[in-house]
Symmetry: C2
Subunit: 96 residues, 2 copies
């Protein structure tokens, strides 16, 4: 099934910027980056629980957040994209 | 139906930061902000076309992007939130 992961990480501190990079790096292991903080992951339930657990351990729940949208298997015509296509490298310097 | 709007606006220039503010301001008119660049909007097809058209006119399609995810009407158990900024149900009465 397709799962959309979106995240907000507070990057006002150096620790926050480190968290952001860690979250992005993990998401890359599970899916396709479609925007800066948006990943589409094709996973089963077990993998979903796994990534939830990993990401939950990386963020500061007081200031950061994660959202998971379960889009299911029939999602092809449920997504509309307008504009630039992503070309991100999680190892690139952070631009805010 | 619930539509998720996510956007990436390149804020490396002053013009980009202005575009970002304009996009966010428009999204606020249509739904609930759940993360920095993620809005959940309860709209019909006509409203969806309207917001698409408005946002498309605000971004620079060379460097920015918009994504619309049609989550439909049965979305209650399709969304998992972890961490800061609890989400709101766009159909709930507004409590101030």
């Amino acid at each position: 099934m397709l799962v959309l992961i979106t995240y907000d990480v507070n990057t006002q501190t150096k620790a926050g910027r480190t968290r952001l990079r860690k979250v992005a790096k993990q998401c890359v292991n599970y899916g396709q980056r479609v925007q800066n903080s948006v990943f589409e992951c094709s996973v089963d339930n077990a993998k979903l629980i796994e990534i939830q657990h990993i990401l939950e351990g990386l963020i500061d729940k007081e200031v950061d957040s994660l959202r998971f949208y379960i889009l299911g298997n029939k999602y092809k015509n449920k997504v509309i994209h307008i504009g630039a296509r992503p070309s991100f490298d999680v190892n690139d310097p952070l631009i805010i």
